[in-house]
Point group: C2
Chain length 119, copies 2
Amino acid sequence: MLNSDPLSVTFAALADPTRRAILGRLAHGEATVMELAKPFDMTLPGISKHLKVLERAGLITRGREAQWRPCKLDAKRLKDVSEWIEEYRRFWEASLDRLDEYLRDIQAKEKDAREKPRP
Amino acid sequence: MLNSDPLSVTFAALADPTRRAILGRLAHGEATVMELAKPFDMTLPGISKHLKVLERAGLITRGREAQWRPCKLDAKRLKDVSEWIEEYRRFWEASLDRLDEYLRDIQAKEKDAREKPRP
DNA sequence: CGCTTAAATAACTACTTGGCTAAATACAAC
DNA sequence: GTTGTATTTAGCCAAGTAGTTATTTAAGCG
């Protein structure tokens, strides 16, 4: 990747459904490359490349057990992402507040209509 | 982008420091393209491309006022990202717990050493 | 040793990205 | 209409990505 700052590398690694699915699988526990590859219609080298991206991004670590290289989730970088995004929480909560307001407004109008039916 | 699912598009858009900085600027309020471009050592068409990426990702919306096209932060997609990442919170909190444990352990050992100094 | 399995690497292709310059568009004001 | 300002589009290029097949490394087992 051109942008080598850690956050950019992490976001880029997450911008792929296969890689996110791999992380999802690793959330259930360590797994070998074969096990990770099974659900996907992709060759093993393809998966291997994705794992390399995830490893470079610091999202997984890899051990060594005989001829297996078990992969493990490493959530540090996810925490960084979470902290970055928290700065923006007020914006989506603000929109939800506006939605709440709108819904309350609608409900008030309906209640009003029920209580004072037009002749 | 090859991966056109919304989450992938959002992550890809966030995987660039210039684009994240633009979002950071927009957190302070709407801004024109010129205003957004000012802090960066980049041509205007370059910024325009970044804005297009952010717009396609649903992270910003653009209005129209005379010859200006004011940009505005739209946090819906950031909420989606936040919700995706929340599923992993327990992993980084678990690591922090292990760090806490380790630090407590270290401190206990030091306390022990202070109280029972070797002769 | 030779054989099998697990995984990584090399080499290739098609496509995307991020930047540029130059040209085009949109609108306002004169 | 012409000029000026804001912004986008077009066309180019270097670099990166995601996938493939074929080859290679690593380890365990007979």
